[in-house]
Every structure is written in C-alpha cells, then in structure tokens.
C-alpha cells in the first residue's frame, strides 16, 4: 500500500504561493516541488517529518505533517506554521485580495513549535488596532508572541490578544516590516502602525494583467500602473476617471468640471488614430464597459448642445478595489482590437470582511462646489453699439410713462424724456456706466401689469453680476456596503446614492448604484461566480455648451451687456408667462431680438436625461487538476438612455427633441488555464480561449423640424409639434469572434518570457480581410537577484516587449447605402450619402515596442520606473475628408501612419520616515511625441491632409492631420509679417495670410503630476499637483468677448475714447502707425479675421487636490461598535497656479471625447470643490 497523499500550498507572508520550493520526506527522501503558485502534492502521512527548502528562503525548515490532507504552510522569516487549507484558493485567478483572505484563522493556526496554550476565559485581553502608514486599517495582520503563539487581527485591523506584562509581540503583515511592541498597560488600547515595504516581499507582489490574469509583478514585461481604490474614494469626483488625472504616467485626461457629469477624454500614450476613437477601453471585472460618447460633431466643433458625458461614470467609485492601467500593445494584445488605445482595468471589491466575518462599511461624502475661473470682464461700459443713449420723449410716447412728470430728463423744446439703452444690441460697446438714470429693459410693457413700469434706474457697473448668477453647488454621496466570506464562498452587496445640485440655477444630477457579487463553491472542483450591478443616473438642466444661447456663458462672455443686475434678471417672466428679455427689440416690442434672459434659459429651456444601466457576469470554474482549470463566463452590459431637449414656445416657436440610445453587448468566453512546473527550474502559466462578442445599439432621435414649433406651450412630446417630427435612426451592430492564447515561461523566478496571440474575425470587415492575427512577446529580467551584494539596490528589473495589434472598423462601412428617405410635400426623396464606403477595407495595424527599467534603492526609500515606447499605427481606417468636388465629403480609406514615441517616468521617494512621521513624494512625467508619418494608401500619397474638424462659426480654424506635423494641428489664418513686423492695410487692419497655415498642435508636449503625502500619527495630509505643458487651442470666449466689448481688455485705460495704436508696416514695407477705434480694432484685428490672434497656449499647473485625513481613536469608534472611523477634508481644483491663457481655464475646455480638441466654443467656468468624507467600518 502506498502512503496516503497530502496536497496543499506553501505561502509566504503575503499569503501568496512560493514557487520552486522542494518538500522532502526525511524518512524516504521522496520529494515534490511547488509549482508557480506554490501548490504541491506529495505522498506522506501524519507525523512524517517533512523538510522544506527553497532558494527564496533564508533557511531550511522541518515540520511534522499535520493530520489534514489539505495543508496550508505559511513561511515567514524564521517561523513556519501549518493550517488546514480550506479556501477556494488555488485558482489561476488569485488576486492580491483573494490571496490575503486565505483563511488562516485563529482556530486553524498552529505554530510549528511549541504547542500553543489556548487563551482561556480568565485571560486579560488587550485591545487595539493595526493600521497602515496612512492610518487606514490593515486586515489580517499576524500577531506573534515570543513563544510562537500567533493571532490574526480582524479584517478591520482590530484585535484583542492576551495581555502578558512586558511581553514583546511582533506584528507582521504583507509587504511591511515587522514591528515589535512591548505590552505594558492592558487598559490602553494599542495603536499599531505598519509601514514601508520590505524587499523580500517584492518577490510576491502581484499585478493584474489583461483578462484579469494575475501575474507576479516581477514576471511582467511591460508597463502597468496601478491605482488603489482608496486613492480615489476620498476627494471623490462623480466620475472616478477624473481622479486619475496626474496620478498615472502615460495617461492624459481632459475634462470639463463646469459641465456637470460631462465628458472625460482618456488617452494613453497619445492619440493613435487620425479620425477613429482614441479613448482607452474600460473593462470592469472582465466586462468591456461601453463608454459611448453621444456628444455631436457640432458640439465638438464649438457649436451648441449638451455634454452628456462619458457613460463610464455609471461605476460607483466606492466599489472600486483597484484600477490597473494597461498602456502598451504588449499589455493589451489579449483584448484584441478593442484594447488598442490602452485598457483601464477596474477590479471591484469582492468582499468586505476577512475570514468568516461580515464587514459593513458606510461612507458619507459632502461636497460644496463653486465656480472658479471666470473671464475678466470690463465694468466701464454697458450694452450698445455707440457711446450715447437713445431718447424716449413723453410727447411722442406718453403711453410709456407713468405720467407727464415721470420723465427723468427735460429738453427745453421737446419736453420730458428718458434715456434708452440699445436693448436689441447684444454687445457692450455702449455708453459709459456713469450712474445716469436710464430706462432699463424691465421698465416697459404696461399692458403686462409690470410693477416696475416707468421706473428709471442707474446705468451702473455690476462687477459681480456673472458670479452672482451662479450658486453654490452641493454634492452628497451616501454609500454602504456589506460582505463576507465563508468556506463556501464570498459575497458583497453595495448601495450608493449620489445627489448633486450644481452651480447653475435649476441643474441637478443624481445617481443610484446597487450591486451584488459573490462566489460559491459547488463542489471541490466547481466554483460558480456571479455579479450584477445596476445604476440609474438622472440629470436635469445640464449646462449648454459652446456657442449657443443655451450656454449662459455665451451671453456672459460672447454676446451680452455688462450692466445686467442679476437681482432684476431673476424676474424672467410676466404673470402671463411671456418672457422678460434684456434683448427686447424696442421699448415697445418685448420680443427678444436674439437672446433669452439667462434665467429663462435655465428654468424654461432646460434639458433632462436619464440612463439606466445593468451590467454583470456569470461564470463557472472547473478545476479537475491542480494545474488545470476551465472557465466559462458570460458578460453583459446594457443601458437605455433618454435625452430630452426643449425650447419654450413664447415669442419663439418652441421645440422639442428626444434622443434615445439602447445599448447591449454580450461576451461569451471560454478559457483553459494551465500552471505547471517543467523540471527543476522552469515553470509555465498559460491560458487559451475563445470569445464571442455581440453588440447591438439602437439610436433614435425625434425632433421638431426647423421652421416648425410646439402646438401647445409647455407640452414637450413628439406629437405636440406643428409638423411631422424629423426622425433619425441608426442601428449599428457587430460581432467579433476571437481565439487567443498566452503563455509565460519563467526560469529561476528571475527570467520570464511571455508570448501571446489573438485572432479576431470581425463582422465589420469584408470577408477577405475579416480575419486578423496579432502576436506579442515580452520579457522581464530581475537582475537584482544576481547583485545580492549591492546593498543599495533593493530591487531591479528590466523589461522589454513588442506587439502588434489589429483593429476593425464601425459597422456598415463596406456596402453602399443611401441617405435616410425624406418627404417633400408627400413625395419621397433620397440623397447619396456623403460618406463613400469601401468594400476592400483592411484592418488597422499597430506595432509597438517598449522597454523599461524598474529600480528600488536604499532599502526601498527611492523607487524609479521608466518606460520608453515607440508605436506606429498603419493602415488607419479613416473617413478622409475629401474635396466635395469628388462627390462625397468623406471617403473611407486605409490611409496614413501615425507615430507616437514617448517616455514615462515615475519616481517615488520617502525623504522622511520615523516612528510617527512619514513623508512620501511621488512624481510622474510623460512625454509623447506624435507625428503623422504619411497619409499614403499602399505607398501612394492620395491626400495631402486630413481635416479632423472645423469650428462652426467662422468655418476657418480646423484641426488637421498633415504629413510631418503632429496629429491634431490647428490650421487657420495668421498675421502676415514683413521683416518681422505685422503687415497692415491703410485702414489699420492686419492683413491675414493668403491661406490657412499651421498654428500649433492641440496636444500637450508633456503631462504629469506630483503627489505629496505626509503622515503624522493619525493624521495624514496629501496633495496632488498636475501639470500639462504645451498644446494650443482656439478660443471663442476670447474672440467674441473682445469683439463684443465684454472683456476687460476692451476697456483698458481710455482706449474707447482715444482709440488703439496699431503699428506695423504696409504691404510695401513702409512703417505705418495709426490709431483706430477700439471697436474696429477688436472686431477686425482679432480671431474673426486673424485666427492666430485668438490661439492660446493650453499649459497649466494646477493644485488639483488636497486631502487632510484623521483616523479617529479606536476608543471613539468603540462607542458606536465601529471598528474604525476616518474623517477627511478635501479640496479639488483648488488653484490654477500657472496658466498662459486669458479668461478661461485651459484644463477645462473639453467639448467631448472625440478627436476634435482645441476648439473652445464658449468655455464653462471651472469648478472648485471642498468636501468632507466620513468613512465608518463595522
């Protein structure tokens, strides 16, 4: 009879498996070896003496085989403990969190020697809590007595251990140095803080890679950055993506804090696609998470509309456990074409408690928002086109006065009169604000029972009127979650509620998130998992964007009058419901000439929208052998969005538009996973699998046609329209079938090679080109293993990778189709589409090389991580803007190669570290150099430039791709120069260039951030500064603000009285000096004529975030039976430290997530927030 076998796992302090460890029976010499995950199996029986040896361990251990057939052996420095192995561990998907939860519970923990003395009831206990260096609780820390007896702290860090006077107990935890504490006073709770990192633990750090596969960090041959959920859960943004700005090298986030839940554009390592999507893919627990942006082209070019934001914000930030940013092609190759712009992998929390405990967590976040950067307005002149008032005589219009003595002024011949401003003019080139009494727009309309009829009021400056329009916003988030483990599985449920009242009148947003996920071990070999999350987001009164009347900033900064008194303006309608507009046509005609009262806009013409989203997955894992497992998973993401926009029927016709988006995507994935040793020194981990992706979208828009209006005022439906609604529909759908495989081969645990490949079949490509394969290879070498004598070097690794990624296109890009049928007077007509489709499209091809080095120096006090990458994207599938004389405006082509080369650098340091005080600095920097290599198709230059977008009002300034220039170069008219001097014509107007010329790239040269964290006992202080250097934008705010006489610059000194000196030369070179009227100068010498005059540098340095945290003493927490309470105060967008752009916040001008950037159409003010965050764990 052979001896019965035992199997199990050897783990290190972190709870992660120790590979390449030999187990040898001293009696027989039979041996076994652990695999890459630390798993082993050996024929042995209870009481046998077993020796454990490993190159990774400082010494050899001997234990007696315990009486279980499933054994967990934990090795920590000079200690070794065994326990019953009862977890669902051993899966290939071990993550840090799962692994640390491997239950070595107190009951199961036995020290190797000597035998433990059980804690009896009469033992005096001392209580306390273990926290990390930031004061946050550390789960499951080990507490070891000198006699070897061991306890484990709870998931919340709390513990109660027997008190022994003067005993030196050792606290230890994953990745931190041990801390010895002498027990002195049983009545004083212990506060134990474990900080820093320990070199030996680097061996066991794990990184989550593509497809959620966990790999040893040391084995990963490409750059991956990780952000802990906790980093973004204090100074909370409604959209968690915005919290990533400045934290991750290589990632550029552009957003618009003024747009309430607006778009966040996330590009990783620069833009690769000329006209295609450049946004990173989000994957949440394996679910490809749709982030379809619905902002229209018109909006992105500075036109009107609403920023409906990025749907990725449906994720509850409190659910996030960790975010991994996969940057290069080698890291993302397994995601196929969808991962080509990089992947943001979000892992959610799977459980709250450790062990068998139930953990409950509650957090409250209260935030106050205020407008921050507003333009500098002039306060010397009011509305109008000339410096004088018109007159309203009593004799001519007695009906406009209360009585014959009412007129303010008197003319000896014509009699009493009042002064009339030019209401109909939406500019501020009017009379000086000298306090004269005038008849403001609100003093007319006697037939509407106007209580202010006939009153005159001073023509006076209102320096704070724009600021007064905005209110203080308030965002309150309540979030609660509960979860726990048992030996059968784990579960977590979460609920969060976010309510935001925004800074604009009548604007609000709310979001509810509920979710559940869990795992259940059906049999020893079969584990089921499921997770489902639902979110419901609702908004009303989003700010209008860009150049449109629905953007109140359009009235404030582009076309308006400076003397508005907002307390008067608030009165926006008469009792009969008609509007009181500042822009009335005449004193006796209240019809708005162009523009509405901004309060009317906010209260009568608000939009609203909602989105309900359900996403989740179910999966089964079958693990027939220790080294083999199979996974079958299905992922679903679906949402329904309703967007409604309206304008009121009043003097205007009114309109209504309804837009719905129904999105559904299913993914079905099957994988087989292997982890096995080969011989003494090699091990292999491999995954092969297949995926089927099906995506179905239905977009529907019904809108009031131009020239029609509402039938009944105030009723907003598609049937209350005076003509048939204009309906547009689209139903994009596609399917991608894929096969993929990846394998990592390790040698001696310090040389690793990873190979992967994927083949996609996409329904969007023609049959001949439908299938495309992309390979990748990467390697990692931990050279510090061979430099053990270099004490200064704690860890060192070099890595390199190369990969090729393919990409398909959007649906329906192959076969010819015509435009949507329309009716003229009952007769149908159909146009040829402006986009010419292409039946021979090829997949795009990206090749990327990257190399990097990772160093930890001086006992981990300094960390360096550096990456260089070089990426070329060829065969770009682009709807090339072609000459309309071709008969189309766009052709779909494979044309163009774009190169992105860059570096990413991260430096970490701990300048000060003492028992109570610690200071950490993190610095990151990424520089990307982007260039269009060619615009060739099969080697032939077919086009010389590709137009990406043109601003809508002037139709002059474009974002263009030109060979040799960076992608996204602004083109427009510039000044002409002669011998370095600007050329003028005789009338004092600058002469513009004959044609459009390059005016700079919209993308920054480099971006990054600096974090500082100071910890003193229970208090922590953190600050984040982010910066962006370079990049240009064209500013409507400045151009129109100057042309309309609203901005401070237009009333500088007394230029309105004396004129502006324009100097330069005439075309023939003769020097020319002339003074021209300020209005002429600002209207004709700026961007409308010379586009370059309103092109600005978008660089900035921003104090983005400051957080002050306080961990309340455990005694306080005990009073409410809580295990920990943490209170934080924070601020976001605190200080625009440096900016070269006047009147707008250059970090706040995004109009969408498309490639049309750098066209500012009427910037919303940026928002500065202060908040309080309370977090209680039970």
């Amino acid at each position: 009879q052979t001896a019965p076998g035992i199997h199990g796992k050897i783990i290190g302090r972190s709870g992660l498996g120790l590979p390449n460890t030999t187990l040898r029976l001293t009696a027989t010499g039979d041996s076994a070896r652990t695999d890459a995950e630390g798993l082993f199996s050996i024929k042995a029986k209870q009481g046998d003496s077993l020796r454990i040896e490993s190159a990774l361990l400082p010494e050899t251990y001997t234990i007696a085989v315990p009486g279980y057939d499933s054994v967990l052996i934990r090795i920590e420095d000079r200690q070794i403990r065994t326990g019953k192995w009862s977890s669902s561990a051993g899966t290939l998907k071990d993550t840090v969190s799962e692994a640390t939860n491997t239950p070595i519970t107190r009951a199961d923990t036995v020290p190797a020697t000597p035998a433990p003395a059980p804690a009896t009831g009469d033992t005096v206990l001392i209580k306390g809590r273990v926290t990390n260096s930031n004061g946050q609780p550390l789960a499951n820390a080990s507490i070891t007595y000198p006699n070897g007896k061991m306890y484990t702290a709870g998931a919340d860090g709390t513990f109660a251990i027997p008190f022994q006077q003067g005993a030196k107990v050792v606290f230890s935890n994953v990745g931190t140095p041990n801390l010895e504490v002498t027990l002195t006073n049983p009545n004083k709770p212990l506060s134990v803080r474990l900080g820093g990192k320990k070199s030996s633990e680097e061996l066991e750090q794990v990184t989550v890679t593509a497809m959620g596969i966990s790999k040893k960090s040391r084995s990963v041959g490409y750059a991956i950055s990780e952000v802990k959920g906790s980093e973004i859960q204090t100074a909370k943004e409604v959209n968690f993506v915005n919290n990533l700005a400045g934290r991750v090298p290589g990632v550029n986030i552009t957003t618009n804090s003024g747009s309430m839940g607006g778009s966040s554009k996330v590009t990783i390592r620069g833009p690769k696609s000329i006209l295609g999507d450049n946004n990173a893919l989000f994957v949440v627990d394996g679910i490809p998470f749709s982030n379809l942006n619905t902002n229209s082209y018109g909006q992105q070019i500075g036109g009107g509309g609403f920023d409906y934001g990025s749907p990725v914000q449906d994720i509850n930030p409190d659910d996030i456990d960790q975010i991994s940013v996969l940057k290069g092609a080698a890291a993302t190759a397994l995601y196929g074409s969808r991962g080509q712009n990089g992947v943001i992998l979000v892992t959610t929390k799977k459980t709250n408690g450790g062990g068998k405990k139930i953990g409950i967590n509650y957090s409250l976040n209260v935030q106050s928002d205020k407008v921050y950067v507003l333009p500098s307005y002039q306060n010397k002149y009011g509305g109008g086109s000339k410096p004088t008032f018109d007159t309203l005589f009593y004799n001519k219009n007695p009906e406009q006065f209360l009585n014959s003595t009412a007129p303010t002024y008197r003319d000896p011949i014509s009699g009493g009169y009042d002064l009339l401003p030019e209401f109909a003019v939406d500019e501020s080139w009017g009379p000086a604000l000298d306090g004269r009494l005038v008849r403001h727009y609100w003093s007319f309309d006697p037939n509407k029972n106007n209580p202010y009829f006939g009153q005159a009021a001073p023509w006076a400056p209102q320096p704070s009127n724009i600021k007064d329009f905005f209110q203080t916003g308030l965002t309150v988030t309540n979030s609660v979650s509960a979860g726990g483990n048992s030996d059968k599985g784990s579960i977590r449920i979460g609920l969060a509620d976010t309510r935001q009242r925004f800074v604009l009148p009548n604007s609000q947003l709310s979001r509810t998130n509920v979710g559940i996920n869990g795992t259940y071990k059906i049999t020893g070999q079969l584990t089921a998992s499921a997770g489902m999350r639902y979110s419901y987001t609702k908004a009303k009164g989003r700010p209008g964007t860009g150049f449109t009347g629905q953007n109140v900033m359009n009235l404030f900064s582009e076309y308006g009058q400076r003397q508005w008194d907002m307390s008067r303006m608030k009165n926006y309608k008469y009792a009969d419901g008609t509007q009181i507009s500042w822009n009335r046509k005449t004193f006796d005609d209240p019809t708005p000439n162009f523009a509405n009262n901004p309060y009317w806009t906010r209260y009568m013409e608000y939009q609203n929208d909602d989105r309900s989203r359900l996403f989740g997955s179910v999966g089964l894992e079958y693990k027939p052998l220790d080294w083999l497992s199979f996974n079958a998973q299905a992922f679903m993401d679906s949402y329904n969005t309703l967007q409604e926009e309206r304008t009121a029927k009043d003097y205007f016709l009114g309109s209504y538009a309804r837009n719905t988006i129904d999105f559904r995507e299913m993914n079905y994935m099957l994988t087989a996973n292997i982890k096995k040793d080969i011989g003494q020194r090699f091990n292999i981990g491999a995954t092969i699998g297949g995926n089927i992706m099906k995506q179905n979208v239905h977009l529907f828009t019904g809108a009031t046609p131009a020239g029609a209006g509402l039938i009944t005022p105030g009723v907003y439906t598609l049937v209350n329209i005076s003509a048939p609604p204009t309906i547009t529909e689209a139903r994009p759908r596609k399917q991608i079938n894929s096969l993929f495989g990846t394998a990592t081969i390790g040698y001696n645990n310090n040389i690793f090679l990873e190979l992967s490949g994927r083949n996609d079949w996409s329904s969007t490509l023609p049959a001949a080109n439908r299938s495309y394969f992309y390979p990748s290879a990467s390697t990692s070498i931990v050279f510090s293993d061979w430099l053990k004598n270099a004490k200064w070097l704690s860890f060192g690794k070099v890595r390199a990778g190369i990969a090729q990624v393919g990409s398909d296109t959007d649906p329906y890009n192959i076969y010819l189709t015509y435009g949507l049928p329309q009716l003229f007077n009952g007769t149908p007509y159909v146009s040829v589409d402006d986009l010419k489709r292409n039946p021979s499209l090829l997949p795009e091809k990206t090749t990327e090389k990257e190399a990097g080095i990772e160093l930890k120096l001086f006992n981990n006090r300094v960390g360096i991580d550096f990456t260089y990458y070089d990426r070329v994207t060829k065969n770009q599938i682009i709807p090339v803007n072609v000459s309309p004389a071709d008969g189309y405006t766009q052709y779909l082509l494979n044309a163009g190669s774009v190169s992105n080369k860059g570096i990413e650098l991260r430096l970490d340091g701990t300048p000060v570290q003492s028992e109570h005080f610690k200071w950490n600095i993190g610095f990151n920097f990424s520089k990307n150099k982007n260039k269009i290599l060619d615009l060739a198709q099969n080697g032939n230059e077919v086009i010389d430039r590709i137009n990406i977008g043109t601003e809508r009002r002037l139709n002059q300034v474009s974002v263009v791709a030109v060979k040799g220039q960076p992608l996204g170069t602004l083109y427009g008219f510039d000044y002409t120069y002669l011998n370095g001097q600007k050329v003028l014509d005789e009338s004092g107007h600058y002469i513009k260039t004959a044609t459009v010329v390059p005016l700079g790239s919209v993308y920054p040269d480099y971006v990054g951030g600096i974090t500082n964290n100071l910890t003193y006992k229970n208090i922590s202080l953190g600050a984040l500064v982010d910066y962006s250097k370079g990049g240009k934008f064209f500013s409507y705010t400045n151009m129109y603000g100057l042309a309309s006489g609203l901005l401070e610059e237009t009333a500088d000194g007394n230029i309105r009285e004396t004129g502006v000196d324009v100097s330069g030369v005439l075309a023939d070179g003769t020097p020319f000096t002339k003074t021209i009227p300020a209005m002429d100068h600002f209207k004709n010498n700026f961007g409308k004529n010379i586009n370059a005059a309103n092109i600005y540098d978008a660089s900035y340095v921003y104090l983005r975030e400051v957080t002050l945290g306080y961990q309340l003493p455990p005694t306080w927490a005990d009073k409410i039976s809580a295990s920990n309470i943490r209170l934080s105060l924070y601020g976001r967008n605190l200080w625009l430290i440096k900016s070269n752009a006047p009147n707008v916040d250059p970090s706040n001008i995004a109009n969408g997530t498309g490639n049309i950037q750098g066209l500012e159409g009427g910037a919303l003010p940026s928002i500065r927030s202060f908040g309080l965050n309370l977090n209680i764990g039970f």
Binding site: E422, G707, T827, D886, G887, S958, K1088
Partner: protein, 462 residues
C-alpha cells in the same frame, strides 16, 4: 460568413434608390444651398447691394464668411452628386424608355449648377469632378468649361422628347413636363452665352440665336421655380415664420433708387422700418454694426421672408431681359430690344403680383433708351432679379451698369472694404478653405491659372 455579411448590412438605410427620389433630392438640395442664408443673403444679396448687414457688417464689407463659401461648394457633393448618380444608375436601368428624358433633365440641372459655381469662383473642378475615386479632381479652365456646358445643353434640348416617358414623380419644378425642360435648357443657353458675350461674342451670338429659335421661357407660367411649402421642414430656407428675422436690412442704394423711380415693387421688397414706419434703407457698408439697425431700417418684405417663397432657377423676366440685350447687341432674336425690355419688366411685375395698371404706368415711366441700353437694361434687370442674389451680383459685374442717366447706382462700402483686394465689389469668391484642406495642390494650380485666389481677380467673362 454570410451571416456576418447580413449583420454588416445597415438595416435603416436604403441600398437602392429610384431616379425620381434622386431628382427631387437634387432639386431640393440645390435650392436649399443656393437660397441658404449664408449663401444668398450673406453673399449674393450683399454683393448685389440689395441688402445691407444689420448684425454682421463685415459681410457688406467683403469679409467673406467661410460658412457661406463652403455651403455653396457643397453643391458638388449634394445635388451634383445626386444627379450624377441618377445618370449613372440609369445607364443600367431595366426599362430604358424614360432614360433619355430623365438623363437630359438631370444634365440640365447639372449645367445650371456648374455655371453658378464657375461664375462665382472661375476655374473649378468639372471634367474630373464627381469621378467616384480619389485623388481629388483637378480644376478646369472656366472658358473651356463654358463651351462644354453649352454643347451639353444643346444636346439635351435635342434629346428631350415629349412622346417618351419622363419622371413620373419627383420633379417638383416642372412635374416631368419635357417641353418645359426644353425651354429651360434653351433659356440657360441664353444665360450662359450672354455671360460670355464679352469674351467670345461670336460663339455667344450663334448659341443665343439657335436657342431662341428652339424656344425659350417667355411666359411666367413656365418660370423654373422650386415650390417651397409653408409646412416645415419644406419651407424656403430663410423665413420669418418662427421669429422675425433681424440679420438683414435693405440697402439705401436700392430703396433710394426705387423711390426715385416710384417703383411699385418697393412695398414688396421691403417693409416699413419699426421706428419710422416708413421704408428706410441702410447705407451700404456703413461700418457700424448694430442689432438696433433692424428697428431703424427696413427689413426685407413679408413676401420674400414667407415660408413658401419659391426657390428661383430662372424666370421669363430674366429671359426677356437677355433677349433685349441680345437684340441691343445686334443679334437676331425675333424682336426689338425695347419690346423685350418692356416684356422683362412686365414679367417681373407679374411675378411680384403688381396690378397690371400700376405695371403699365411704371413701364411707361422708365422708357427704353437704345443709346444707353446697357444701363437701361442693366438697372431694370437688377430690380427684376431681386432675391436672386448670386445672379444679380454676376450681372452687376458683367454689365457694370449705372443708373440710366449715367450716375453711379452702386457705392463702395461706406466704411471701406475689409478686403485689401477689393474696393467696389468682389469679382469672385475665394476658393473655400475645405479645398485647401482636401485638394490643395489643384486649388493652388487653379489659383495661379486665374491670376490669384483673391476676390479682386477678374474672371475671364468680366
């Protein structure tokens, strides 16, 4: 794999189309573009000096808005492309009987649009345009293109055959009436040939005489009009149905001249100013830019801002004036210049629904003077072409007429031109920026060929 193909077929957009659907699309899109506010109002009506700006004074001062420029250029990818697709699809049609008529009609519309583009810009893409493949098309020499346009129209008017089928629907201009299209083809020959009468007098004469023999539009019932309706979205592109428009006011040039002539059409061309309750024109290119102008000065008349105002292709009035000029130039067009001149005014009066008696009185008050025929015909034709901004601007350039008494009718912008290349009136439009972005090499070559891409470059026929 066939499953993937059907999955990749757009379920909401048609993959087949009929000639009728394409024709109506072309007719509507052509009119929508030519009478779009940014084209007709901001360029044509200004350059013809009918209107002045109230909100964007720079339009009057020749700072060309790129929106209008690119919209005009979209004639290529909209109506011209629809018509070309129609013609191409018809070549392989199962039933060939209606094809000759259908393609001739489509061709006539193409010629009309190509001439409009050539007159606005000079050399333009023509023979290589709409070729369905890249690279972007080269530009044709405008003079050579004119010869092609004339010969195409000659051919079409010969092909058109009333005994064969035409369009059963979709033709809202003439409802498929082949004989009316024939007259339109010949009338367009008149327009084209007359525009080149200075540069190529012999060719012009021959073309005009032949066209008149073959039959042109002389009756207002045959006017080529696009019948916009008062129902959205099929309204005239710029109307004050939803909101009283304030962007434009009528020019002092037009108002003063019409008042001097006691022209009964003035009441229709303009409405009384809000403040004075009388018709007041704004001095052209005044340089001050005030929304209050729309109160101080007259805005265009109610009729021309009506949602069902028609899109005008050509009218009997214009044809009569063309024949008057032909006669005055000594061509044989079957009548005297005076007769045609009077008929031209009368046709215009009819178009604007002026009572017969008032029309007669007016016609008698502006007698034809052969010694001064150019100014006489030019000024009256100008008054008749109201609302056809581009055509009126072209005729202003071609005839450079004055008032019949020889005093200037037009003025330079009061505050001066904002374009250094132009003082009085632009001779052409600069090529749109979209061409710089997509077809730069060919555009540059064309610019060099015509003598520079500026508004000051005189075109070959001017």
């Amino acid at each position: 794999c066939s499953k993937f193909d059907s999955l990749n077929t757009d379920p909401v957009k048609p993959s087949a189309v009929t000639p009728e659907q394409l024709l109506l699309s072309a007719e509507k899109n052509a009119m929508d573009i030519l009478y779009n506010s940014v084209v007709n109002n901001r360029i044509g009506m200004h350059y013809a000096q009918y209107w002045a700006a109230s909100d964007k004074e720079e339009d009057s001062r020749y700072s060309l808005g790129e929106a209008g420029n690119s919209t005009l250029w979209s004639l290529y990818n909209r109506p011209l492309k629809d018509l070309q697709t129609l013609i191409d699809l018809n070549r392989t049609a199962a039933i060939q009987d209606p094809v000759p008529n259908q393609n001739a009609i489509a061709g006539i519309l193409q010629v009309w649009l190509y001439q409009t583009l050539a007159d606005a810009y000079g050399n333009i893409p023509y023979s290589k345009a709409l070729s369905d493949s890249i690279p972007a098309p080269a530009y044709d020499d405008a003079a050579g293109m004119y010869a092609s346009l004339l010969s195409r129209l000659q051919e079409y008017q010969g092909v058109l055959d009333a005994s064969k089928d035409s369009y059963k629907s979709g033709d809202v201009i003439y409802n498929g009436d082949v004989m009316k299209w024939k007259k339109l083809a010949n009338s367009l020959i008149l327009r084209i040939a007359m525009r080149m009468s200075k540069a190529k007098p012999a060719e012009a004469k021959s073309a005009i005489e032949t066209a008149v023999t073959n039959g042109v539009i002389t009756d207002g019932a045959d006017n080529a009009l696009f019948p916009y309706t008062s129902q959205a979205p099929n309204q005239y592109p710029y109307n004050d149905f939803g909101r009283e428009q304030v962007e434009f006011v009528v020019s002092e040039t037009m108002v003063n001249y019409m008042q001097a002539l006691n022209d009964p059409r003035l009441e229709i061309y303009a409405r009384p100013a809000k403040t004075s309750k009388t018709i007041v024109g704004k001095p052209y290119g005044l340089g001050t830019n005030s929304a209050a102008d729309a109160q101080k000065y007259s805005t265009p008349g109610v009729r021309v801002y009506a949602p069902d105002f028609p899109g005008i292709l050509i009218t009997a009035s214009e044809v009569q004036f063309l024949m008057a000029e032909a006669a005055a130039r000594g061509m044989n067009v079957g009548g005297t210049a005076e007769t045609f001149y009077k008929a031209g005014i009368r046709a215009s009066m009819n178009f604007w629904k002026i009572p017969e008696a008032a029309a007669t009185t007016y016609i008698n008050s502006v007698p034809y003077k052969s010694a001064n025929w150019k100014n006489q015909i030019g000024s009256q034709k100008w008054l008749a072409l109201y609302m056809q901004g581009l055509q009126a601007w072209f005729e202003r350039l071609r005839l450079s007429f004055t008032k019949p008494d020889g005093t200037p009718l037009f003025i330079a912008p009061v505050a001066g031109s904002l374009d250094a290349n132009v003082t009085m009136v632009p001779s052409r439009l600069t090529y749109p920026v979209v061409e710089s972005n997509t077809n730069n090499k060919n555009k540059e070559a064309a610019a060099a060929a015509i003598g520079g891409d500026t508004k000051g470059t005189k075109l070959w026929w001017q």
